[in-house]
Every structure is written in C-alpha cells, then in structure tokens.
Symmetry: C2
Subunit: 333 residues, 2 copies
C-alpha cells in the first residue's frame, strides 16, 4: 500500500488493502474492487437520485456502495468515474447534465469523508485508460476511444498519456460539427456528430422510416413510431429486417467519417469503440471501417488504424478510475 493510502478506522488492518473504482452515472452508482490485472472482483450498486436532489444524497449513495464493496478491507484508494465535465485538476465536476454537482470540490469532500485517496475523472477518460491498459488498446502508445451511448464521449491516449486539456474537457467528440445547419443538438448547436452517430440518432433515424417502407420496426412498436426504442431496432436487425440494418449501417458510416476526422488530427494506432451502441458490433463497425478508408487523408501512405470493439464492457469506467488512483497512490498489487 502506498504512503497516501490511509486505512479507515473501522477497517480490519489484517486484510489486504483494496483499490476501488466507482462509476457514477445518471441513474446508478456502481462500485467495484479492481485487481492488478484490471479484473473486477466484486461490485456493489446503488441507484442515483438524479440531478434535482442535493449533493449530499449522491455522496451518500457513493459512500454506501464503497463501504459495501470494501467489505471491511482497508481501502488504498478510490477512483471515481463521473458522467460529466471534470476539471483538469481532477477536483471538481464542472458540469454534468445528469448529476447534481456544480463546481463543489468533490475530490476533497470524498477524500475527507472516506479517509483515503480519491481520484476523480470523466467516465470516458477512465474507460479509455482501462481499454488502453487491459482492453482493446493494450500494447499501443496512441489510441482513440469513442464511446457511443445516447451521445458520444471519448478519450485520447497519445504517446502513452491520456490527453486532458486545459479545462479537463478534451475528448468531447460528440459535439464536433459534421453537418452545417444539420440536426439541432441539445448543446445548443446544430449538426453535431452525435446527432448522426449515437443511440439517439439510431432511434430517430429508425422512427423516420416507419410508414415509408415495410419493416418489422412498425410491428415492434405497434405502429407508434414515437414508442420505438433502441432495443427494438436491435431486435429487428437481428431478425434480418433490412430497414433496421440500413439504419445501423448509416450510424456506422457516420462513425467512420467522424473517426477519419479524429484520425487525421491524432493519428492513433487503433480506434476503440465502446458504449451501449457498440454492442451492434460489425453491423456498425464494418461500414465504419469502409468509411474510414474512404475518408482518411493519405490512406495510401500510412497505416490506417483498425476500428475495434471495446473489450471491457460496462465496467471500463470504474476499472480505469481504479487504475488511475492506484497509479497515484503508488499502490503495489
């Protein structure tokens, strides 16, 4: 255990200290004990009360999940992966649409409360760190991670280091403009990449096709396009529905076009695609690969990076957060 890893007073000092990662999302908190190989040994869950409640309630939920998963062992450090903008110092959540924090010194508050080292970072950064250490980007020096969920998040590893930026806001790929005057976006802009390549885009595109062409989608939502969900589009595609498959292919094509922009800027060795939408696998990744080769400058004069699916699944964020805090406290496992 590193010199910074303090042991909570109620912990059993004879037990091996543990490193814990926590993923704090809009609807739930997941805490996990993470071992030296990035494996999640056990987890604990709490629902999060949303952004309308106060900061204390979410910190209580975090504390309960951490205590449960520690199970009496001393805690060497806790890494917290938050779905929001975390500042470059890793101290504060500057803005998070689905979390109540608005500039509090979260890192210090939790460190004081838990009596251990706490590291705070954006969930996409944490996932990138984990995929780079133990997942689809392991062994590379330059990796691009794109997280496709309801929107797009991301992280960049360059020469073996995570890029954070001045405000800690690097990797906000979802709001890069790809269509001038395109679909309006929640961010206030228009034509943002995530309006064309995300879970939300998938559902919107699928809904727009209902009534235009014969499709299983119509049956699945009982003819009510506004009731159509992402899982229904997945189900239709798996059943062989051509319209649903075209919708996935369209998302994949936009994934490749946007990836080409990022590859032109960063020149990574691999592009790792995670998040819920990545479960579609080659249904989106294969059109993305084709679009990347077609769109990437100098494709004939360079190694075009493979686009691969993330390997660590939903736990990537908490694993990465645990790895980062372990690095910080010099924890030897």
């Amino acid at each position: 255990m590193g010199q910074n890893g303090r042991v909570p007073t109620d912990a059993d000092p004879d037990q091996t200290p543990v490193v814990i990662g926590v993923d704090v999302g809009g609807t739930k908190v997941v805490a996990g004990v993470v071992d030296a190989e990035g494996r999640v040994r056990r987890t604990a869950h709490r629902s999060t009360p949303g952004r309308r409640v106060d900061v204390r309630m979410i910190e209580d939920a975090l504390t309960e999940a951490v205590q449960e998963v520690a199970d009496g062992a001393p805690i060497a450090g806790v890494g917290v992966a938050a779905a929001g903008f975390v500042d470059a110092d890793g101290a504060r959540v500057r803005f998070a649409p689905h979390l109540p924090w608005r500039g509090e010194d979260v890192q210090q508050r939790l460190a004081d409360r838990w009596g251990t080292a706490v590291l705070l970072d954006n969930d996409a950064n944490c996932a990138a760190r984990a995929e780079w250490a133990f997942g689809a980007a392991r062994g590379t020096r330059d990796a691009l991670m794109i997280t496709l969920g309801t929107g797009i998040g991301g992280g960049i590893v360059s020469a073996g280091r995570l890029i954070r930026g001045r405000n800690g806001m690097a990797g906000e790929f979802g709001h890069m403009q790809v269509v001038p005057g395109g679909h309006p976006c929640e961010c206030g802009g228009a034509g943002c990449w995530e309006q064309y390549c995300s879970g939300n885009a998938l559902v919107r595109d699928a809904r727009a096709r209902i009534g235009l062409q014969p499709t299983l989608l119509e049956e699945l939502c009982d003819g009510h396009a506004d009731l159509l969900t992402g899982p229904m589009v997945t189900e239709a595609a798996e059943e062989g529905d051509l319209v649903a498959r075209e919708v996935f292919a369209g998302i994949g094509e936009w994934l490749g076009v946007g990836a080409a922009n990022l590859v032109a800027a960063f020149d990574p060795e691999v592009v790792v695609v995670g998040g819920g939408v990545s479960a579609a696998g080659d249904r989106i990744l294969e059109p993305a690969r084709q679009a990347l080769v077609r769109s990437l400058v100098g494709a004939a004069h360079r190694d075009v990076p493979p686009i691969v699916r993330a390997e660590l699944g939903n736990h990537a964020g908490l694993v990465g957060a645990a790895l980062m805090v372990a690095d910080e406290v010099g924890y030897e496992r």
Copy 2:
C-alpha cells in the same frame, strides 16, 4: 555543445558552435542560425528544384544553404522542417506533394553527409514547437496551432508535448470533413476543411463573386476571374471593398467552426493561427472568435481559448526545428 554534436572537419574549432534550422518547402530552402531565445541570427536561401528532380539535387541545395549559414562555425545540430508527412521516428519523409523524397532515410543521409546531429519533422509541427516556446503560445501547456496557407496544416501541444501520432501524421487538420458531399479536394475526398478555409478557398470564393456584385475585385483582375489572386483579394479588402471583406469573413467563420471541433477534441488553452492567410489578422480572426463561441460545446462552462495570430512569421518552422535538435543533442546555449 552536447556529446552528439560533431564538428565538421572544415569548421573552425575556436568558434562557438551553432544550431541551424532549415525550412524545406516546395519552392525554396531557408536555413537559419537560431539562438537560445529563438531569434534567427542570419539566414541563407536556395531555390528547390521541385519534385521532378532527384533526391540528390534537393540535398545539395540543403547542404549549400547549411554551409553558407554556418559560415565556418562548428555545427551542433541541424533541424530540418519539411513540408510533408514525416514518420514518427523523424527518419523519413513518407510523402510530400512538392518534394522529391519518397521514403528515403533523409535523417541518416543528411547526418552522414554533414557529420552532425540532424532532426527531421513536419513543418507545421516545427512551427507549433516554436510558437509554443517563443511565440503566441509561450507559457501554455496545451496549445493548438493552425497554419493557413494554400491548405491547412497544424500542430498540437498537449501537456507540454507535441503530439505526433503513430505515423507521425497527427495535425493533418485540413482534411477533416466539414461538409458532407462538399467541394472536391485534392486528397480525393470532398468537403475537407481546407476547401472552405485556406488561401485556395479565399481565391475560389472571390472568383465566384465576380460578375454577381459590383466589386473592386473585378477591376483588379481586369474582368478575368481566373486571373484573380490572393494578394488581389487582400488589396481589395484593404481598399474597403465589401465583397472582398465578406470573402475574408467567410473564411474566418469556417476557421472558427473548425477550431471549435478541434477545441472540443483537445481543449487547448490558446489557438494560434499562422501561415500566409493569417496576415489578414482580425479580418478573419474576429469572425473566427465569434464562430468559436457560438459553436463550442459547453462554452458557458469552460474557458473558451483565445484565437490569436502567430508571432514568429515565416521563420517559425526553421526556429522550431532548430529548437528541437538543440533539445535532442542537449545543446546548452
């Protein structure tokens, strides 16, 4: 002088050794002696024979310029800034539209020929390094450099280090797609950023307006739109011609939109704009700043970086190359 800095046999060992930077462009070679504060003490020029001639001829031109500028002093190292794709090891020019090299080990060939340490890098990377050390980005840790010439080049400094990427091709911002199905580009793609924001775009947009509206541009090119040049557009704008000014403003707006995409990805502290088109100053930078604030995600929750003009002018590339080789040989000035 560092241990790697060998002294050419014809040099005067009593003189102080010099560090030299060389900028190798499509039409000329400029070599300069660069001091510890990044100042260019003296320069030597040679015209370059273009890409149709052999590698030996351009290396002869380089050698002559280096010898002339060294002026008998021992050479601690030479940094070469090349207008092309340089590999991540700094050994080879992988591809350069206006230079004859096609994969030769340029760094080794020149080091052998000159008997001194040689560093090779892309000119935009070198310019970014120089602006970061001594120009408009000095004192920052995260800086974005955009070079507006006939096309767009660029460089990224993240946490005090230049991002190179897997192939050494990071910073190729010009070919990020900003308009689906837009203007065809020399790269084989369409809708690339440099088709909307570059010296070429400026001239194309200005030509398209001749005959549509009364403008001084028509007079300057004697009614032959195809004879219109960039300097004519600049002249018309300086004379107060509204059409020419609108054309510059349009370039500036695209500069801001593209910068917003890059700021979303990297979160830099400053955006430095160099290259020939940057001479238009606030005529393009002010519309760019407005477009950046309008387009940037989370602008209300972050420090929006200033967009400023590069300070080192045409010599930024050779200064940066000299600084990099000085670092590499451990040259103490």
